[in-house]
């Protein structure tokens, strides 16, 4: 009980409350701008968190990402342009409702079920994480290695691109972490004689480059989004309670799928939304109404993506394995703030963990009033000219990376280079998220790999003979072979009509 009271004390400190409020407003604004994703919003915040207290820093990441995932639905509803990839799955549906003159209902669904989903996800985090922590305490380097590999493989599975390109992107990320002197032998690797490279590539400039600068670059090659017409919106929350009572099953299923996908390392909010939307259609009594502005799929997918956001923190906090790109950034912040992820976090820093839960709940509650204000202001914000927003973001990329790297200009070069890498990769179908997960987890993968090999005298047998690690290994290989299975079934399906 003492720790809970302590946690409340941590959260209700003035700096934390200001951080929550400010990052909520920031997240809502950035998420609602078409083309600026929730990941970008979070990546740009990292340099700011550098100068905050640990709890305030984590609070900004949690609140900003939750708000941005919700407000990404706003341009989706009104313009048919998803503000974040997580809302892409149901953009059509929401826009169809807007065309039917039900924009306020669509936006209300997104807001109401996002907040409820976020709270459900938080409850799952509170429940699952301590249970898994007990189990994780008995894990050795073999299990940690397979867990990390499983996370990396999952990130390639969900990439919605060629699995080979995804694996190549992931390996590229791992190779990038080899740069520098921080390795088992302490020898400089891939430094090409540069002293700046001795310290390795910092995660933050790489993230800012790949997620923020590359998006600025991409928007230069795309046309302006269409103008938003000014429409008067009715009451936003009216009728939401009736919908909650009418579709309890859809909401519960959405929450559950979101939580499960969130807990899986590597799969995040956008995956949760796609799966849940498909699920809603599959089990609906009226599947023919989908796509014509029917609330069912919207409810299930909206409930799902926000639920996955909180449960994505489970692998992040326990193993330092990101649930998605946002928690990948969060892990960087946790390390930076001395809250190193691991099962012992739940015993040694229990009050911080409770504080994190409280912040999640607060964030999802204040989402409702702030979200309503945001929706009312949407016609002003969504129409903000790209030519004013993007240059400012570009300056933030430069200065933010510069400031976190201890005023070292090398970080600015890193941002520029990673922006270029991210842009070229994205254009050619190489998923950037897989590379980022590789960069975040590379050092840990190498450490657990090499330490395990040293322990076993170079034999790979213990990687498979320990009970837990054999299960994890089987799952990893399953994830590796899954695309082959999909390809084979597709081939069979295609052949059947021809032979019959």
């Amino acid at each position: 009980m003492d720790t809970v009271i302590q946690a409340f004390g941590l959260v209700f400190a003035p700096d934390v409350l200001i951080a929550i409020f400010a990052s909520a407003v920031y997240g809502l604004l950035v998420g609602s701008l078409p083309g600026l994703s929730a990941t970008m919003a979070t990546a740009l915040l990292v340099p700011v968190t550098f100068y905050l207290s640990p709890i305030a820093a984590v609070a900004t990441i949690i609140t900003a990402s939750a708000m941005a995932i919700f407000s990404g639905d706003i341009p989706g509803c009104l313009l048919r342009i998803p503000g974040t990839p997580a809302s892409a799955a149901y953009t059509d549906e929401a826009y169809a409702m807007t065309r039917k003159g039900e924009a306020e209902t669509a936006l209300g669904i997104c807001l109401w079920f996002s907040a409820l989903g976020g709270i459900a996800g938080t409850l799952s985090l509170m429940l699952i994480a301590p249970l898994l922590a007990e189990m994780a305490l008995s894990f050795s380097t073999y299990e940690n290695f397979w867990l990390a590999m499983l996370g990396l493989m999952c990130s390639t599975l969900v990439a919605r691109s060629s699995p080979i390109k995804a694996i190549a992107a992931m390996l590229l990320g791992l190779l990038i972490t080899c740069i520098g002197i921080d390795n088992p032998g302490g020898v400089p690797r891939f430094t090409l004689g540069s002293t700046d490279l001795l310290g390795g590539i910092e995660v933050i400039p790489a993230l800012v480059g790949v997620f923020a600068l590359a998006e600025v670059m991409r928007s230069l090659t795309e046309r302006d989004p269409p103008k938003l017409e000014n429409r008067r919106l009715g009451s936003i929350l009216k009728g939401q309670w009736a919908l909650t009572k009418k579709y309890p099953k859809q909401q519960a299923r959405g929450n559950l799928i979101g939580i499960i996908i969130g807990v899986l390392p590597g799969a995040g909010a956008d995956m949760a939304a796609w799966v849940s939307y498909a699920m809603a259609k599959r089990f609906s009594k009226t599947p023919e109404k989908f796509g014509t502005g029917h609330p069912e799929g919207l409810i299930e997918a909206g409930a799902s993506n926000n639920a996955s956001l909180a449960s994505g923190w489970v692998p992040a906090l326990l193993f330092g394995i990101p649930g998605d790109t946002i928690t990948a950034i969060a892990i960087g912040v946790l390390y930076m703030k001395g809250l190193n992820p691991g099962p012992t976090l739940f015993t040694s820093q229990a009050s911080s963990m409770y504080a994190l839960y409280i912040i999640f709940i607060i964030g999802n509650i204040i989402m409702i009033p702030l979200g309503i204000i945001m929706i009312r202001l949407a016609s002003k914000v969504v129409g903000a000219p790209r030519s004013a927003v993007m240059p400012v973001i570009m300056i933030f990329c430069a200065v933010g990376a510069f400031a976190t790297a201890g005023n070292n200009l090398f970080a600015v070069y890193c941002v520029a280079i990673f922006g270029l890498i991210g842009f070229v990769m994205e254009k050619n179908g190489y998923p950037v998220a897989a590379m980022v997960l590789g960069i975040v987890m590379g050092t840990m993968v190498e450490q657990s790999f090499v330490t395990s090999l040293i322990k076993s005298d170079g034999s790979i047998l213990p990687f498979f003979s320990r009970p837990v690690s054999s299960v994890l290994a089987a799952m990893t290989f399953g994830a590796l072979l899954w695309p082959v299975f999909v390809w084979a079934t597709r081939k069979l399906m295609a052949q059947r009509p021809a032979t019959a």
Partner: protein, 163 residues
Amino acid sequence: MLLSDRVTGGAIATLGAAAFFYGSKLPPVPGQQVGPSAFPMVVGAGLMLCGVMIVLGIGRRFEEVAEADVASHSAPEMLEPLPAWRNWLALLPPALLLFYALASEKLGFLPTAGIMVLVASLAFGARPKLAVPLALIAPFVINLIFLKLLRVPLPGGLLPFPW
């Protein structure tokens, strides 16, 4: 910036080979079988394998499915191709960042950022009526945020922040 799979796959295979070769040359840790060379060699071999498969077009089918999915979910007018020179415009932001890295110490943050905002904003098609005031005001605001709220001094150069 759209390259063929042969080019990107070839580049990845070459990179993998280089990593493998370079990794194999790293000095071992005395008395241990596994050292700093193991991981780059494994990753390099993986990259080589992936690169070759990409060149051969394996897995291309998955991309086509995903692309068709995206196309069916977005508005048709957003998919029309833009003139090719717009693709080269994408190189502007990293170029401006290089300019920042080279010039900010000498020129100072305010003039450097002002030039960057002006150029980028014009490239996005802003009228001077918007771009010029933005280039004058935005650097000040950003400097204020970093200096006063986060206490990060930005380079002063020719035109230091006035207070």
